[in-house]
Structures are given as C-alpha cells and as structure tokens.
Subunit: 347 residues, 4 copies
C-alpha cells in the first residue's frame, strides 16, 4: 500500500537524521537554551528578515495553538476562527480546556474567513447591549494554508491585519503546513509578510520534513512576555530541547525547508492534473500539497487495493471527495504510479 492520506506518514528528512547522529553525544544545556537552538532561531529570524522576533520551538500543532491562545487571552476573551479551523474541530477542545471559547465563523469551501466577517463579528459584539454577557473576541485564528488547502493572498492577509489592528485583535496564523503554502506558485506571501501582518504565527515542522516540532514566531511584544513559562506549563518544554533546534537548524540551512516544500507541491499538482485530465472535479481548489478531488466510488474501489487516502466528504450517492497529500517524502515513482492508476480507474 502507498499512503497519500496525510503528510506525516514517514520519519524526517535524512539530513536531520544525520545531524542528530553527529550531535548525539554532545553535552548541551536543557530546555532549549543550548547553542543549536540559538543557531536555529537565528536562521529563522534571518529567513524572516526580522531580528526583533522571538522564536520558540514547540512539540506539535495542538500544543502550539493552545499555548499561544492561552498566553494571549484573558479569561473572558475568545478566538474568532473558521468553523472548519483546526482549533474548532480537531483538537479535542484543547483551547476550551484552557478556558477560552472558539468563536466560529462560516468558512469558504477551501477553509478561509475574511476581514469583513471578522469586523462584523467584532462590531456585533461591541454594539450588543448584552456585550458583557458574551465572550469578547480578542484574537483571530487562521491557518495558512487552511485545513482545506486554501491559501490567503497577501491582500487578504493585509485586510485581516488592518481589521485586527483597528479592532484591537491579535492575528494568529497556524502554519502547520506553512512550507507548502509558501511553496505554492500562486502564493504571494513571504515570511517577512507574515511578520508584518500577524502578531504571532508558526512554521510547521511536523508535516514539512521534521520528526516533529513547530517554530512559533512572536512579533507583537505584548505576546513575548514570559512565553517560556507558558510552554513549560502546557507540557511543551522538552528537556532535550536541542532536538527541536537541530531539526529547524537543518531545515533552515541552505533553504531546505523551501526546497522540499516546492517539490511536494509540484507532485501534488501533478496528481491534481492527472485527476483533472481524467475528468474529476474538485471539492475545494487547493494550490498546496493537499488535493481534494471528487471520484466516482467505483473508481475508488479500483484504487483501494493499492493506495490509501483520506475520505473527505460524500458528495452524492455515487461520488466521494477524498484528500490526497504529498509531502517532502513523497517519491516520484509513487506519484507516477498514482497518476497512471487514476487515469486507468477513470477510463
């Protein structure tokens, strides 16, 4: 079986394993205060073109989301997000477990929300006579790219930034798959843009070449204060913090993070093209490593013996939307085979 169901089926980029081996018997300080973490932080700052941002390494996305949101909000405040946002649907209520309500807004098919929605939600709150009886919106959570493969343009992010600034809201960008977003040909948002437009965001490692790990970049000085306490409290401070430093140091050396992301996106586009050529339509358009083609169930039956994908949605009595993912680890051979088999299955 070949797995295209998600982007975390393999281990890590071989260069990370190499570096783990090279550094294995080195004695370092614990809890991320070692020189390798310092090097990784410096490289991420350089990639952002910003010396003033704080960089912290956390273990995973759910943890990063809950830690950032709990650190940013007071008890009566909540996080505006897409109804399909990861914090709203797939984190077992991790944000609520820190006491904060996710405030869902209707999302587009590709998982986005827009500045006008945020502004309307904010205005509805402050203009409601019962405003003190309602959770106060204070942070906007978006994913770039989204859980459904959507990509915010620079114009869209700028509009969100402008509304957030006007309304006193923090903008937090979940970048669990950020590499694949940055690498999309349609993308016009750089790391530097994210620093300019978001208050805090993270650069996903788990799905983009690392064994695990997310690099949280804090731009807004208010959110920098005491952040390491929060990491520790939420169980995210590894004793051997260097593990995270090593991984991001490798990924941000010689542009590896970007190179492997570009390759994965190109492969995903090849698969999408094969689907399109075979007559598929798409559940949501995605310029990233995730593709959501709609297949006749009969075609899926033919493919089922050889490939694994994620079921996404039932479209009608005879058609299903599925998710096919590539990653830094996807081989050309497997993509070739899948494209050919898709053509066959739909013939």
């Amino acid at each position: 079986m070949v797995y295209f169901n998600c982007d975390y089926t393999e281990g890590c980029h071989p260069k990370i394993l190499e570096r783990l081996s090279e550094t294995n018997m080195l004695q370092t300080a614990g809890y991320g205060e070692d020189e390798i973490c310092a090097s990784a932080r410096a490289k991420i700052r350089a990639a952002c073109g910003r010396e003033d941002v704080d960089v912290h390494f956390l273990v995973g996305g759910t943890q990063a989301n809950a830690t950032v949101i709990a650190a940013a909000l007071r008890p009566h405040q909540g996080a505006l997000c897409a109804a399909t946002g990861h914090i709203n649907v797939h984190e077992t209520g991790a944000v609520e477990a820190t006491g904060h309500k996710a405030l869902p807004l209707p999302a587009t098919a590709d998982g986005k929300i827009c500045a006008a929605q945020v502004e309307a939600a904010y205005e509805a709150h402050v203009n409601d006579a019962s405003f003190e009886h309602m959770v106060q919106p204070k942070l906007v959570y978006i994913s770039q790219p989204t859980e459904n493969g959507g990509l915010y343009s620079k114009a869209e992010l700028t509009a969100l930034h402008t509304v957030c600034a006007r309304c006193g809201l923090y903008l937090f960008v979940d970048g669990a798959r950020l590499g694949y977003g940055l690498a999309a040909p349609e993308n016009d948002v750089s790391l530097g843009d994210l620093c300019a437009l978001a208050d805090v965001f993270y650069i996903g490692g788990t799905k983009v070449g690392a064994l695990f790990g997310e690099a949280v970049v804090i731009v807004n000085p208010e959110l920098k204060v005491d952040f390491r306490y929060h990491i520790k409290q939420r169980g995210g401070m590894l004793a051997k913090g260097r593990l995270l430093g090593i991984q991001f140091d490798v990924l941000f050396t010689d542009g590896l993070y970007f190179a492997i992301s570009r390759k994965a996106v190109a492969q995903a586009r090849r698969i999408a093209d094969a689907c399109r050529a075979a007559g598929c339509t798409f559940f949501a358009e995605s310029p990233t490593n995730q593709q959501f083609p709609i297949f006749p169930d009969k075609a899926l039956e033919k493919l089922a013996g050889k490939y694994v994908w994620s079921h996404w949605a039932r479209v009608d009595a005879t058609h299903s939307a599925i998710r096919l993912c590539t990653s830094w680890a996807t081989t050309d051979e497997n993509v070739d085979a899948l494209c050919a088999d898709i053509a066959d299955a739909l013939r």
Copy 2:
C-alpha cells in the same frame, strides 16, 4: 416608563419579603444546612412526586449551568446545545471557563433542538475516524421553555430522553423560566415528567417570584455525588444559605409558584392577542411569558415614550421583532394600557 423588556425588573413576591422578615433574627446553620432549606427541599420533592431526588439551591442561572456541567463532564467532554442556547451565547463563556466546549446545533426559530439532531451528532462523533481528536458529546443542554419562548412537548422530551439513554448522554434542562413553561396552556410536561426524562434540571426562581435563586434537582445518582463541593468551588454556596431556602419554601407553599406563573402567562397571552388583533405577526411562536411580535418601526416609535421592551431582531427595512415579557409582578393595569396602546399604535 413601564418595563416589559424582561422578567426581572421588580424584587420578589411579597410573601417572600414577609417570610424574610419573620425569620430574620432566627439563628440557623450556614451553607444551606438549616431547617428552612430542608423544608424547601421537601416541598420541591413533593411537587416532583419523587423522594429520591437531590435538591440544591444556587444563586443564579449562569452559575447553575456551569456548576452542573463541570460536575458532570470529564475534561474531554462537551455539551450539545441549541446554537441559541444560553450557555452558548449569553454566559460569557462560563462553561468554557470550566474547560468544556459547548457543541451548538442549529435551533428552530423558537429555540429548540430535537432528538434526531442529538443522535446524528452522537453518531457523527463515534463514526469519525478522528473521534479522539474531537470533543466527545456527553451532555445535552436544553432550556424549558427556551430562550426564544419555545416549549418542548412531553413527546419531544421523551424522544430526547430516549436518545440520550441510548447514547449514554446526560439530559440537562435549564429551567430558568420553568414556571412559565409549566403554566402554559399548551404544556403537557409536569415536574414529575422532568424527573423521569431528565438527569438533572433546575427550577428557576430569579425570574419567577424570587429575589434570586435556582433550585437544581438531580435525578441521576451519578450526578449527585459530592455536588456540594462543586457549588462551593463555583462560588454558589451562600453562607446564609437559608435565604434560598426561604424563597423556595414560600414559592412551593400552597402552589404559589404555579399560581403566579399562570397569571403571568395569561397576561402575556392577552398582549399577544392584542398584537395579533392589531395585525402583527410573530418572530417565533411562544406559549409562555415571553412574546416576540413583529412591529412596524413607526408603531414602535409611538410606543417608545411609554414602554420599554427588548429589541430582538431586525426583520426588514421597516419592521423589527421585539420581546415583551410579563412576570409574576406584572399588573393588570399595565397590561390593559399596553394592549390599548398597541391597538392605537397600529391603527
């Protein structure tokens, strides 16, 4: 100005004030362990026809909701509710502040959800491959009557009960306005039925004759364990707990709770009839003390100098839905005047 905007604009039924005065210098045990609370509990048990239920007195509805839900759920569990449910919209995230997610379901115009929705939500959860990544539904929260004046029939409650029992869910009924629901001519649900169909519910005092206070009735033995600890932890255990006992003892003596509720509902129906006679339609049908007529804005301008109501929703460019409430304290004179003025305003 005459207030019809809500059902908590006056103090309490005069008999409660009398009893407060009579008992004022009596020395009693604290924290609800006095003989007056015991008497009130006994009367509520008698009204329910159930000797086996536990009765606790809490200060208010938000507190009762958060205390019951936090006591009932484990950290990964959430509360299914109407999207318009009080816990979802008007408690400043009090339930989330205890760590639990409200899981909203689309509600009818009159604020109800149905057994089929609950079952579907439960099935969707258990059949999702990522179920452990999602909040587990464990409790169903409904209001009787609802925030929008809707009333569950015995058949509807029975259906909810049946689904909850099959799915291992607790059924929790917020009865902040329960008296007005019980008093509705259309109502076919008794306190005894609530004991049979719900795991826990409360009998609202704040809006039905008391200065404040809600009587939580726990039927399910699992939910009875250590409940007083939870009351204390959530700030609901009054040192002079007898205040709550006194109020419910008076309300449940000689059927006062029911009598004053019936009166209020009759008055609300008179107002509704006046609206209907004057040509109004209704935003939501309500058999209770809350009425939601739709008025031309011009008619509201005429009424505005004399009456206060709650704005409920803008219906179109020239019409608004408003909420008019009666309560145990509403006078016949004020209702007469309002009915006449409505007829005038719409002539």
Copy 3:
C-alpha cells in the same frame, strides 16, 4: 441554643429589610446597572474618599476571590498567601479551578504574613535558575482582618505595599470581615488607606449586616478593564443586581456599616474579657469580632448545652481552642449570659 459559632447565623440588619420592602415593586434595569447600585457605589467611593475607584458588587467571598484573582493573573502566575488564608484552605480550590496556584507562606498564629516573606518569595523565584519551571508570583492575597482574627497595622500594610510595588505584585485584600477590622480600637487603617495601599480589596457585607454580598473596590486601573465580563463569567452577576446595591446603600448610609461593626467588636471584647478574667489564655490574640480562647474541656462540657461555638484546635489532652464570634446581630442579653456562664463554668 445560642450561636456564637460564626458571624452569619441571622438574616440582615432591619433597615435593609425595610429598604427591600420599599423598593420591591420598583422597576429597574438589571445586572447592577440601576440607580440604587449607582447610589451605593457613590457612597462607597465617598467613604473611601476616592472618586476614581471602581466598585462592583459580588455575591460572596469565594466568588469575589476567584473572580478578582482570575481577572488579574495570566495563566503562569499565582497568588502568594498565608498558609491559613481562605483561598488556600476553605474555598474547595476555587482559585485553582481558574487555573492558578495558591503559593502559601507560613502564617503567624493570628493569620498574617509580612512584607519580608513576600520579598523573599519573590527574590527566590527570580533568582532560581529554573524560574520558568515554577509558578510566577504576581499577586499577594491577605485578609483584613485575617481568618484567625489578626489585624494588619498601617505600617505592616505599607510595608507590604512597598514590596509589592517594587516587585510588580498586586496587593489584594480580602475584607470579608473588614467592618470588624475597621472597628477594632487597635486599628489604624482606614478605607482611604486601603485605597492607597492595595490594588484591589473588598468590603464584606455577608458577615457585616447584609443578607449577602461583597463590594469589590478596584484601585489599580489595570485591574478595572472589563471586570464586569469576569463577574458574569464566574456566575456573580445577579439579574436583580439592585439587591446588592440596596444592601450596600443602606449599610453606607449614616455610617451604619461602621456603627454595627463597632458594637459587635465591643461585645466580642466583653466576651474576651470574661474569658481572661476566668483564667483563659488565647490561641491567637484578636482585636476583632472573633475570639479564640482556650478552655478546659470540662468547662466546655458545661457550656455545651446552651451555646454553640466553633472548635478551632486541640491544644493538649484536656484543653481546646474555640472560636466565639459576635456580629451586628448579637444581642447584649446573649453576651451577658455567655459571660456569666463562662465565669461559672471556669469557677
């Protein structure tokens, strides 16, 4: 049986009942936004000699403590307090339930902590290499008078204030029995001093003449922001908020709060004198309405048929410390009788 076990065995001062009756059918706005609450706030500001403080009315002490502390702290911060402090021992973990650790310091016999202890705890934290692995002290919680009858002098409070200011800590004074502290002959701390020295404190009503209620006075502007949201979230916002306003308005009219407190303290001192005259020593010295004499168990046996007190501590095989409380409601007759019976029992 005559109860001297606590200061909440009766209802409320008769003038409060009168005012409740007079205002009962008045229609007012809800949630503390009525004109009676406004009047009560103005009177408390006047008593404090400070127009710039915010005044909020909460239902009880546990709720006031948890609400203030949760509003003031970020998730990684905790509250330094006496090991015997109410939040540490008698609130069922209400503060921890909001996510914050109580950081207990050893207390004196009469329940006090001192500035040097606070400073040492702060210094120990910031100088510990593992400081980020420990809860950050951010607030100092003291009770005035303490749970054990102790009273902070102005010099002691000033020292605490100075340390808190230097270390960036909030000083929060639980005044559940504040009236009895202000009324102690030894007291040299005024409401104005509390405004100058504390960031936030509350004036207890439940134990000092009211049916229930605590008036939270917020001095520090940082702590004022959005406080009403927190009250709502923690279940402390009464629909009929005027109940609290009425009570504090009466208590702060013509110095009633102070007059009834003085009377109660004088009665307590009479009891203490009777104990001392009969040969008792004291578990802790208290200038307030609580007295902690040590009795031979045999003497207690003689008193047991007629009086109720609180057992405080076993002192040795044949002696126990007990708590005797007076309140605004204690009658001279009962005090006379108790004093005589103490003399008899110890003869």
Copy 4:
C-alpha cells in the same frame, strides 16, 4: 567542561538512532496507532508481566503528570504529594492549570512521603466539619525514585497502596527516572510490583536513553477510559507517534533499558564513594543515579573550571550541597577523572 548537572545532556542511545534511520522512510499510521508502537506496548506489557495494562506514550513528564491527573480527577479533587514533588514545585503549575490543587505533605530529606501521612490527610479531610469547603484528596502522587534520589521500598509502596485502597485514592507513580530506581542495588520493587501497587505509573524515557518520551502504564480500568482523548487535548499526541514507539521498542528489547540504567547507577555510586572517601557527607542518601554530596565551597571552586553540576542547597557559610547526575550516556573516562579530581580538591 564535563556535565554532571543532569541526566539529559546528551541525545539518545545509539541503537535508537539506528532504528530511527532504518525505519525512516517506512509509511505508518499516525498518532501512535502504528505497528511499531504496538510492538513497544507489547514489550512493556511483557516486562510488566501484565497483559491487561494499557500503555500510552507521551512526550514528557510535565505533560504526563498533568494529563494523568486531569483525566483521573473531578473538579473538586486534588493530588496529595510531597512538598518537594515535581508537580508541586517544578511544572509551572501545570496541574493547577487543569483546575486541580496539589495538596503538599512534608517530605523526608530524600523526597518521600509515607502511608501514615496520606491516611492522616484523608482522615483530616473527611472528619472536618467544613469538608465540602476543602479540596477533596483523591489521588496520591509520588515519584520513584524521588526528585531527591529517594527510593520507596516494596514495603513502603505496599503501605501506600493499602491506604489508598482503603480511602478510595488513586496511587500515581511518576517514573521519570524509573530505570535508575529499578537498577539500584537496594531496590526491591519490580515493574510487576508497580502494576500490583499503583493505579497508574510511567516509565521515563527522556532521562533514560531516549530522545524524549514517557510510557504511561494504566492498571486501574477506571483510568483507562478515553485516555487517548486526554492525550490529544493536552497536546501530547504526536502525529508521528511512531517516534515514541521506536524508542521504547528499542529500550525494551534485550533488556537495554535495564542495562543502561544499571551502568549509570554503578557510575553514580563510584562518584559517591569517591566523595565519601574524600570526607564528604551527603545532603540526602540516594541509591540512584543522582548523588547529593556536601562540599566545602573551596573545593567546588577548584572543580568549577572543569565540571558542571547543579547547586542544590546552601548548607552553611562554607559548604554547599550539589547534585551530580550520571546517565546512560556517562562515560567511564569522565567518571574516572571526576573521582580523581574530587580526591584532589578535598585533599
């Protein structure tokens, strides 16, 4: 500089790196549901001699502690622990952040609490008239070995187990350094004994050969229910869960976990012997990989250029207690050198 300051200064046992490399491009299911995790679980069950225990892999100790405790307790319940216990002092209030109070008991110099203390705390609670105003003890948290190098004997654990069973308390054993405890010559407690005596415990990987990871073993069926939801909610469910499986699979193959622990303990004992021979006394006796000798400050000055240790406590004006740790990674050469230099420094 040679680091003896803690047991997490290096990476992982080389066999783990080998296995990570071998399996790197293998495609597996996510979230710990892969075959390598299954194999690791089976090996741990075998090492425990118990087929009926549940085994879960978490990322770190703080996370494991908070996840287990939050899953086990209801909101009003707390965790009895040594005052020096990791949850009480070095986890930034992670347990309180889940809403639960740590209930500290005075510990011995080597960090232990005893059955009599637990029983006394339990009895004090249930016999206190205000029991509902206090956090209910429901779980006992101990560390084996303790943070201070102490080791519970089988008799001591059995006594704790007996008291817990009698009082309805869960016994939870933090085994962050469990390998080094099991390997101590004085130890008479096996993994099988832990299964018989504890309700839940964990086998530490981070400090015993792994890059990171703790294997939580749940014995009590009540605690097994839905545990994976809790792991997800607390941010502990790695997408590439196999990383944890791989590490524990290697550690529990051919007794590697035990072999490397024995070596580390033997080295620690060589260091302790050198200290003793040179005239040192000890702050706490420890049979494990942590040693707490007391040195003259002058001797420490001589060692400071070459070695790193943890400062533990100031003993008097001229002496300090330090912590020296060995681990699976400590080399004989470094131990030889340290022993010689200690002899020199104290000559």
